[in-house]
């Protein structure tokens, strides 16, 4: 196996591990940190592919990823929800963490079973690696949306799903128009702005960002814990 491809495979594997780590981390700040690492790896993976295929699009994509997901999104989250990010330590989960990890492992294996025949028909090593792992990241992100009970990790779950789709995307369609990718990047940043501001307002009026606590309607804010 050539070095470039094996480095790409390695970064894909590390991206998958970052997804697992986001499911397995208790602290909000830890989840954010793993998301940043995952985005960096994603950028590295797209730089590698761009180098291999001499594609300027992929280089631009990597730079957009770094700007949007490594710099802008954590900055916005820190601006809008600073206390929420740094004060909260333990996250309530519906499924405990070892069981969550096993479920996400099953999702990863399932993703391979699902797209394995498709990607091996493509015959390209990069597709064979990126497509199943991208799908696995999407599924694990969706799972963490369902299992988490906190607003901020749920938001990061959405972003992790986007990362997975991105990983699969750069392998299948290397020559995607840049404008589409730019639109997606701006979209993601806008999602973060809106969810961040909303969460801050919810926190201000109700006093918690725990999604599980938002199950009934009451008129008096004092009755919320």
């Amino acid at each position: 196996m050539p070095v470039g491809e094996s480095l790409n495979t390695l970064s894909a594997g590390l991206i998958l591990i970052c997804s697992f780590a986001m499911v397995g981390t208790r602290q909000v700040q830890g989840v954010l940190r793993f998301f940043i690492v995952q985005s960096l790896l994603l950028a590295a993976s797209s730089f590698l592919l761009g180098f291999d295929e001499h594609s300027i699009h992929l280089w631009a994509l990597g730079i957009i990823t770094i700007v949007a997901k490594v710099i802008v999104i954590p900055w916005i989250l820190k601006r809008t929800l600073a206390r929420e990010l740094y004060v909260r330590r333990e996250i309530e989960q519906t499924v405990n963490i070892p069981a969550s990890l096993l479920l996400s492992l099953l999702l990863a294996v399932g993703a391979e079973l699902l797209v394995g025949p498709l990607s091996s028909a493509m015959g390209n090593l990069v597709v064979q690696v990126n497509l199943p792992i991208g799908l696995a990241c999407v599924l694990i992100g969706a799972y963490s949306l369902a299992a988490r009970r906190e607003a901020v990790p749920q938001l990061i779950g959405i972003l992790a799903m986007e990362n997975g789709a991105f990983l699969a995307g750069i392998a299948i369609a290397a020559e995607l128009p840049l404008i589409a990718e730019l639109a997606v990047a701006i979209d993601v940043v806008l999602i973060v702005v809106i969810v961040g501001l909303l969460t801050r307002d919810i926190k201000r009026t109700i006093g918690t960002t725990e999604a599980a606590g938002l199950s009934e309607l009451k008129e008096e804010p004092e009755s919320w814990r």
């Binding site: 094996s6 495979t9 594997g13 591990i17 397995g24 990890l101 391979e112 792992i133």
Partner: protein
């Protein structure tokens, strides 16, 4: 044939002689990092010397298990030494007697008898430590299995001498995800099996918090010395497997000349020294985990090893 048997003996001698030095260097480094002076790196030799010259006290309540355990704990790492590359790049006389699984079995046998002996004494701390060691052991077991499966899948063999050649074929194989992720998982296993810090504190003297140490509390004199020496050899053997089979199979003797074997010794020692620095930096930057968090630590190792397997199956290499 006789020559390779001689080299095997040299390997065993290497492990016997340098195992106490390795643990001495580790504890000295750790103390230096914590800005203390620490004991001399030769202190473990003096401890062994002292213990061998003391009388042995054996409780009349114990059975034969307690008497043979020190010998088993001492002898099992030596059996593993015969199976793995410690100094040489090529298979020696007994290399094909067993694969990595057999090595795991031998180390497990020593651990099993150590746990039995701890229960045998009736000392309240012994069984507690034994049950905790078993807990760590059975959590580490699946990781060991997946690591072996992945290694055998990638290298088409589980004989350590054949596996080590696989990673240095070319740079692509060295940076392949199977290799890098296996390294991470195996390092976590070494920390768990060797009773190092995120799992257990080897320098702790508080019986209630002990995992590994409390099994040896009842041994005295020669028994204690053999247990201690055996534990140090086990840790050195694990480090040799990690360094010579998985991480960096460089610096090993390649020829059949005896001078080449002897000149491999300092190279291996330098590698082990670097590994000790890595271990010390891990140990001083992490806190000991709570007992019920150990399952999460080894769960992470399991996830990493399974990811290694999944990715290497994707690639099909």
């Amino acid at each position: 044939m006789t020559r390779t048997i001689l080299y095997n003996l040299i390997q065993i001698l290497f492990v016997l002689v340098f195992a106490p030095l390795y643990s001495g260097v580790l504890s000295r480094f750790k103390e230096i990092v914590q800005s203390k002076r620490g004991p001399s790196i030769f202190q473990p030799y003096r401890d062994l010397w002292k213990l061998f010259h003391k009388d042995e006290v054996i409780s009349s309540e114990t059975t034969w298990i307690f008497r043979i355990t020190p010998y088993l704990v001492f002898i099992t790492p030596i059996f593993v030494t015969v199976l793995i590359p410690v100094l040489t790049d090529y298979p020696l006389a007994f290399a094909f007697m067993g694969d990595m699984l057999a090595g795991g079995f031998f180390l497990g046998l020593g651990g099993f008898f150590a746990a039995l002996a701890a229960v045998d004494t009736g000392n309240p701390y012994g069984p507690m430590g034994a049950s905790r060691t078993r807990m760590v052991g059975f959590l580490a077991e699946p990781v060991f299995m997946i690591v072996f499966f992945t290694v055998s899948f990638v290298a088409q063999s589980t004989i350590p001498f054949i596996v080590q050649q696989k990673w240095i074929e070319n740079a692509g194989a060295f940076f392949s995800p199977a290799h890098v992720l296996l390294l991470a998982a195996f390092l976590m296993l070494i920390l768990a099996e060797g009773g190092r810090i995120p799992v257990d504190n080897p320098a702790g003297h508080f019986e209630l918090a002990m995992i590994d140490e409390s099994k040896g509390l009842e041994f005295s004199g020669r028994g204690a010395a053999l247990m201690k020496w055996g534990g140090q050899m086990k840790f050195l053997v694990l480090a040799c497997i990690f360094l010579n089979v998985l991480l960096a199979p460089w610096g090993l003797a390649q020829g059949l000349e005896i001078m080449q074997i002897l000149s491999a010794v300092p190279l291996i020692l330098i590698k082990i020294l670097l590994f000790a620095i890595l271990l010390v930096s891990i140990e001083t930057s992490l806190a000991k985990l709570r007992l019920f968090r150990i399952s999460e630590f080894l769960g992470a190792a399991f996830i990493i090893s399974v990811t290694a397997m999944i990715v290497s199956i994707f690639v099909g290499s």
